[in-house]
């Protein structure tokens, strides 16, 4: 039986113009399956974050397409992509990007309000999610009153608000010390393992490798290496271009 990928990048190409043509992603093909825990690794400038942004529909490729559960991004306008993200995808930024004037609870309630849920109901759900990430005691605090790790937990709770199938994170531990980074990694692992979320994480560090079932190494805008977990260990596989 063939399992069809949930998230697929097809001949994805992205360039930037900074005085000259810069290739961020070159003709990249990628299949991500439901329940995967994928780590995108690679040196700075290899195109990891750009790829993640393209997969999340935060940016548009210059060529190629992304298909999420049969929906082609190229056929969606910005609003269509926003609706898709709202229902199927949670995104976590490296720098948390919490709304500074909203409490942790209201930050988490925000996507629920965008989905049309009234504030009281959204707050109830936000409280549950904050409890899930161990932040129930800090839910009335503003982001400025939280540590980096706590802010990232809130950001993860916010990404989970509309119960998406996919969690995408751009260097979620990049701004945290090792202890807090560990907590965050474990939180992602738990969400993948216990709640069946498909997780795609961009990371410089090896922290996530312990839990990932695929580690994709990127170089020069292409997938350069791939490791898959076989029998509890990550093993290199031939990279498909």
């Amino acid at each position: 039986m063939t399992i069809s990928p949930s998230l697929r990048a097809v001949n994805l190409t992205k360039t930037y113009h900074v005085n000259e043509l810069v290739w961020a992603i070159r003709n990249l093909y990628l299949d991500i399956f439901a329940g995967d825990f994928v780590v995108l690794a690679g040196p700075s400038g290899s195109g990891k974050s750009t790829l993640l942004h393209l997969l999340a529909g935060l940016d548009r490729p210059i060529y190629g397409d992304v298909v999420l559960e049969g929906q082609r991004y190229s056929r969606l306008d910005e609003d269509g992509l926003a609706r898709l993200r709202r229902s199927k995808m949670g995104f976590v930024y490296q720098f948390f990007n919490l709304i500074s004037y909203l409490s942790a609870e209201d930050n988490v309630a925000l996507p629920l309000q965008f989905a049309g849920r009234p504030l009281p109901a959204a707050r109830r759900r936000a409280a549950e999610l904050l409890s899930l990430v161990g932040m129930d005691q800090r839910r009335r605090h503003l982001p400025s009153q939280l540590s980096g790790g706590e802010q990232q937990r809130v950001a993860i709770a916010r990404a989970m608000a509309n119960e998406p199938d996919f969690l995408l994170a751009d260097e979620p531990t990049g701004n945290l010390d090792s202890h807090r980074a560990h907590d965050i990694v474990e939180l992602f692992a738990r969400l993948n393992r216990d709640m069946g979320k498909t997780v795609v994480v961009v990371s410089h560090s090896d922290l996530f490798h312990r839990y990932a079932n695929r580690v994709l190494g990127m170089l020069d805008g292409r997938l350069d290496t791939e490791q898959r977990r076989v029998g509890g260990e990550l093993r290199p596989v031939e990279h498909r271009r």
């Binding site: 001949n11 190409t13 360039t15 930037y16 113009h17 000259e20 043509l21 810069v22 290739w23 961020a24 070159r26 003709n27 040196p43 700075s44 400038g45 290899s46 195109g47 942004h53 999340a56 935060l58 940016d59 548009r60 490729p61 210059i62 060529y63 190629g64 910005e78 609003d79 926003a82 609706r83 993200r85 709202r86 229902s87 995104f91 930024y93 990007n97 709304i99 500074s100 004037y101 909203l102 209201d106 925000l110 996507p111 309000q113 965008f114 989905a115 049309g116 849920r117 009234p118 504030l119 959204a122 916010r158 608000a161 509309n162 020069d220 805008g221």
Partner: protein, 437 residues
């Protein structure tokens, strides 16, 4: 939609609360735009009221305006001079029934006016006029003998020794007109078709006794440039409408401020001068300020949008769609705009009271001016949101996050698309630099 509003209203309130300074500035700009709009309207209103007051001074009931030249005294040659003077250089006026009946001018002369009285040798009439009889000046001869028909010059009155030629008014039928023939009800002595070029228009003479007991006005001279279109309507109008008591009372009441009685066009000139001198500059300054602040609204909203684009990017990441962005922005400007409009209305009323007190002018602010100002400000606000909404709709999250140039209209694709798309299609790179660690 209702669910959206209910869900997003708290968000909008928090957004408003998050940027108190910016929103206070926005409210202030709205308020100032309303203040200057109202100021402009007030000055415009004052301008037109002032000029129409000048215009009103030229009018008396019955669409007839009367004028007695200042300085006309009994047995005074200046009466004639004034008559001619009025006709030639028209410094003060006579009449402006003109608007409805053609170019009519009316001169009311004192009882013993030289025109009707005995003054100077009658050159062409051959006899001295009896009191109350209508005579018309036809020629003038100065002491040096210069003059003649049509020669009644502006300097006529400056030569006391000069003489004026008068003829009895003769009606179209050829009969001499006298006051005794005036119909009971009308103060009309008759029409006269002058024979001389300089008075080349019909004349209507009105007898003194047809006016009030004060008895000052004795005659109305009317002339017009279009007798064909004038005479018949005038005759009909007199028949039907001209009731001396209605004219004379107000006329007498207005005699003292006669120098202020102006021809309509003179009034317009005065009005325009007044506008140029005071009201228009002030009003136009207000108008320019209003435009400045209305444009400022656009700039402010755009800057506000650019200022918040990171926040907007995060919200778009979380699933905020452009209609929802529009809703939040409209709720925001709605609340801020209402505060600004309330403040602007209060400030307008307050400033108006101060200006009224300081200037002594009758400055008025009508409710519809304030309402239309509020409507315009609301419209400006609405339009000012439109552009940021358009940008938000077109921009990707990556654009808004500032990670790459903001090309909401597909600039990047157009500029690089040719090479990049071909490369993508071919599955190969076409040069350029690949970033390395």
């Amino acid at each position: 939609m209702r669910a959206n509003v209910r869900a997003l209203f708290p968000v909008a309130l928090r957004v408003i609360g998050s940027a108190r300074r910016r929103n206070a500035l926005l409210a202030a700009v709205v308020a100032l735009s309303l203040v200057f709009y109202c100021g402009y309207a007030v000055f415009l209103d004052l301008t037109y009221r002032q000029s129409s007051r000048l215009m009103d001074q030229t009018r008396l009931p019955g669409d007839l305006v009367l004028y007695v030249p200042a300085g006309i005294g009994p047995n005074d040659l200046s009466a004639v001079r004034s008559l001619y003077w009025l006709r030639s250089s028209e410094p003060g006026v006579l009449v402006t029934a003109a608007t409805s009946l053609g170019l009519i001018e009316v001169l009311v002369l004192p009882e013993n006016s030289a025109v009707l009285g005995e003054i100077g040798p009658v050159q062409d009439g051959g006899r001295t006029a009896a009191g109350g009889e209508c005579l018309l000046p036809v020629s003038y001869r100065g002491v040096d003998g210069v003059g003649g028909v049509g020669g009644v010059g502006e300097e006529a009155g400056e030569e006391p020794g000069g003489s004026i030629g008068l003829v009895p008014a003769v009606g179209p039928s050829g009969q001499s007109l006298s006051l005794g023939r005036v119909p009971d009800r009308f103060a009309v002595a008759g029409f006269y078709e002058p024979r001389d070029d300089w008075l080349s228009c019909p004349v209507l003479v009105v007898g003194e006794h047809q006016f009030s007991a004060a008895g000052r006005p004795t005659a109305l001279f009317m002339w017009c440039a279009h007798p064909e279109t004038f005479l018949k309507p005038l005759a009909a109008w007199i028949e039907n409408r001209f009731i001396p008591s209605e004219v004379n009372g107000p006329y007498l009441a207005q005699r003292s401020p006669l120098p202020l009685l102006l021809r309509s066009d003179t009034a317009q000139v005065w009005g325009r001068d007044l506008q140029r001198a005071i009201y228009f500059p002030a009003g136009e300054a207000m108008f320019l300020l209003y435009i400045f602040f209305a444009v400022g609204l656009f700039a402010l909203m755009l800057l506000s949008f650019l200022d918040r684009r990171r926040e907007l990017a995060v919200m778009k990441t979380l699933g905020l769609t452009s209609p929802q962005i529009a809703l939040v922005l409209y709720l925001e400007v709605g609340v801020v705009g209402l505060i600004g409009l309330a403040a602007g209305t209060a400030a307008s009323v307050g400033l108006l009271a101060v200006a009224r007190h300081a200037s002594g002018q009758d400055l008025r602010l009508s409710w519809w001016v304030a309402a239309s100002g509020a409507a315009f400000s609301a419209l400006s606000l609405g339009l000012s949101v439109w552009f940021p909404i358009g940008l938000a709709r077109l921009a990707t999250v990556a654009n808004l996050l500032g990670g790459q140039p903001f090309h909401p209209f597909g600039y990047e694709r157009r500029w690089s698309g040719g090479a990049a798309e071909q490369a993508g299609r071919a599955g190969m790179g076409l040069g350029g630099r690949t970033p390395r660690a």
